[in-house]
Amino acid sequence: MKYDVVIAGCGVVGAMTAREFSRYDLKVCVLEKENDVSMGASRANSGIIHGGYDPVPGTLKAEMNILGVPLLYEAAKDLSVPFKQNGSMVCAFGKEEEGAIRALYERGLANGVEGLRVLTGDEARELEPNLSKALTLALLVPTGGIISPYELTVAAMGNAMDNGADLKLNFEVAAVARTEEGFTVSSAAGETVTGRIFINAAGGFSDRVAEMAGDCDFAIIPRAGEYMILDKEAGDTVSRTIFQVPTKDGKGILVCPTVHGNLLTGPTALPVGDPESRETTPAGLEKVAFLAKKSVPGVDFSKVITSFSGVRSSVASGDFIIRASETVPGLIHLAAIDSPGLTSCVAIARRAVELAADCGIALTPKANWDGTRPDPDAFRRMTDEEKDACIKERPDYGHIICRCEGVSEGEIRDAIRRNPGARDVDGVKRRVRAGMGRCQGGFCAPYVMRLISEETGIPMVEVTKSGKGSRMITGGRIGEEADQ
């Protein structure tokens, strides 16, 4: 298949880039090696919209962060992705860290962040009563926010697809050949696509993809971040995102509410060899709990409903890599997108379009482009009267499958039907939260499996948790030979 733009990687950057390209009369394809979008860093991160006080002025991170905040709020609104401008606070404990707060304030001013304020410990505790008494100074960042990163990625790719873009799942880039017309990209399974522009948004694998494309001068350093997520009963422990003073390893352990009302704590920052590591460790989780309690002593870790680990991809320079290759025409790198990558994703996507235009791609806007996406949560926001009317149209909306999060059969079927359709149990969970509540799928998993099977034709014994190799059932149908 011949495309104008081929994007490797469907994390939030790849998806958002596809959406930006879908505005124009171009054939766009995103290649994703997993069974779903948003399976790398975009699956498991803090979900923070950063104000922009942290990046060093003059870096790409500073530029993209500041440009990115209003663009992301706008995109989230258009895409009906849950977000909240809840504000952030960076906390100092004692004299030494107070200097860092003042430095961040100055840096924020230099970057153009609006509304920054330095608060005394008492002022901070007035806003957030559960903050530690040991807190002495804080930076208030009113533009900071929270967003669901995987829902944003799903929505961005879904919207790109609604506007004509293609998505190829389970397409692991194995070779990239430069041709007269552009690139031929082959998968490990032997499938090929061609494109005039090749965009490397392969996250933890972007150095390898760069190498295949013939221009690699960077090495990805994967760093794991472990998190714990707490029951909604603990969701109002804080209302803002509570940071500690950043260190060389990152922005430290945060405590924040999620857009769905849970409480999130983490991450650690542990260098790992494997960009796909998903392991949580006793030491990591202990560290999260210990440091979270430093800011907010009352965090009740008996209310943990799950823990997870995500890997972010950095490079030694510490900055994003956003540029067209100087040696391979038509190759564009969007790599090393660690924090504040989520905040910056729309700005990065727009920059990618500009870089493609510089490479000679004509940008003819589509007359019928629609950047909006219906709200997958529309049903639960309805009044009882509206719900009643809705169920009369679609009776499956009246059949609740996930008790903890109150997700109906109709919403699950929609998650499988809508672009990009969920193909596994975790995919349903990321789209509509069935299985994300306190029972973690104990009740609904068998029903979700059945619905996936019904909607996609995948036999029950082939339904996976999260793509290849992760079959939910390995003992086979009872009464038949167990499969090997």
Partner: protein, 415 residues
């Protein structure tokens, strides 16, 4: 608005027995709301036997036990609305529910909560490692095996020796899976003795006490677990770690009453039981709202669920009929060696009252003493007690009326 004298939330063993008892007490306008497609609750997936010996005088399977009560409900013409999920209960006793025909609101005169319980998930146990497929709560695996006909895995480790875990060890073995081990973090099993014999020992499945799963391995499907012995503080004993290859980990680590609706209604809760605070009639802190079965306290046997549901059903009926008992109330307090006491408060009616409780850890021969101040209201001796077995102590008629202050139940080990 639609009305019903008593709305029963849940069509499992508690809801069914409560409905039958309320009907027999004289209230005929009842409605059972159940989220499953057929009534019977979790019993429908419990195809093993051992149910009903106490209550029905015969040994039945779970579906048979449920069928008995479904039949009783049917005989009385009590309607069951299936695939109907209650989404809210107001203190004014308006029940809101959703099903495929729409949203319904029902004004009740009394509501009986009988939603049951759910299993503690992996996340709450906070086991480290990867997040592959193949980790199920024991009940989820039971549903897939017994109701859907799929064997979730072939090589199994079970964490937790609660009864569902023990039952599933046998069930998976009978279906051809190899159960490598059952690990229990406590130095004793929380399951019934008969299940340890009939489900583990009869099949040579090892039970490792004071042992837990420390780490989960495998990227896509589970490849194995690291188990380790633990000390009294539940910390791993270094050097005892052991890797067991397996493709399935079943968790049977306790049940949690499912009280979202209860909390939503504003009912006062007991942190110890995870259920509502009730009086001896199983009335919650909100007049007209009753609770019974595993949503109130996790029971050992379904037979006892039925017993408790009958108490709630009769009391709800009495309220509708204007015969609700009244009187001064006193609190109950768990004392030495006692984890909780239910009911959490007692209405002084002059009648005898049964107190249900669980102990904090296993004890040998013990004496329970029920006291109000210095006055002993009742006492009972047991040859041995364990947290896995609920205890019942009866306070004789008339005794309570003298109780001035809170009633304390405490335990003394007799050496």
């Amino acid at each position: 608005m639609r009305t019903s004298d008593i709305v029963i939330v849940g069509g499992g063993p508690a809801g069914l027995a409560a409905a039958v008892a309320a009907f027999d007490r004289g209230v005929k306008d009842l409605l059972i709301l159940d989220r499953e497609d057929t009534p019977g609750g979790i019993l429908r997936q419990c195809i093993h036997n051992g149910f009903g010996l106490h209550k029905l005088g015969q040994e039945l399977t779970g579906p048979e036990y449920a069928a008995h009560y479904v039949e009783e409900v049917k005989n009385r013409g009590i309607p069951v609305m299936s695939e109907t999920m209650v989404t809210g209960i107001s203190p004014e006793l308006v029940v809101t529910a959703a099903n495929k025909s729409g949203i319904l609101k029902i004004q009740a005169k009394a509501v009986i909560l009988a939603m049951g319980c759910r299993e503690r998930p992996r996340g709450a146990l906070n086991i480290c490692g990867t997040r592959p497929a193949g980790i199920y709560s024991a009940g989820t695996a039971q549903k897939l095996v017994n109701c859907e006909g799929y064997l979730v895995g072939k090589k199994v480790v079970i964490l937790g020796s609660g009864d569902i875990g023990l039952i599933m060890a046998r069930r998976m073995t009978l279906e051809g899976a190899k159960v490598e081990a059952v690990c229990e973090i406590l130095p004793y099993s929380g399951g019934l003795k008969r299940n340890i014999v009939q489900c583990l020992e009869d099949y040579d499945i090892p039970l490792y006490l004071s042992t837990t799963v420390r780490e989960i391995h495998g990227r896509e499907r589970l490849e194995g677990v690291t188990i380790a012995q633990v000390d009294e503080k539940r910390q791993s004993v270094p050097g005892t770690e052991r890797f067991i290859p397996c493709d399935t980990l079943l968790l049977s680590c306790g049940l949690i009453p499912e009280n979202e609706l209860t909390r939503g209604a504003g009912v006062a809760m007991d942190r110890r039981t995870g259920g509502a605070c009730v009086d001896q009639f199983r009335q919650t802190s909100l007049p007209g709202i009753y609770a019974c079965g595993n949503v109130l306290q996790v029971h050992d046997l379904v037979d006892y669920v039925s017993d408790e549901a009958e108490i709630a059903g009769r009391a709800a009926a009495d309220r509708v009929l204007g015969k609700a008992p009244a009187g001064e109330t006193v609190e109950t307090v768990p004392g030495n060696g006692v984890r909780y006491v239910l009911p959490q408060r007692v209405v002084k009616t002059g009648d005898e009252v049964d107190l249900f409780l669980r102990v904090t850890r296993p004890f040998g021969k013990s004496r329970f003493t029920v006291k109000a101040g210095e006055e002993v209201l009742a006492s009972a001796v047991r040859p041995a007690v364990s947290p896995g077995e609920m205890e019942k102590i009866r306070v004789p008629a008339g005794k309570l009326n003298a109780a001035g202050g809170p009633i304390t139940v405490s335990l003394e080990e007799m050496v």
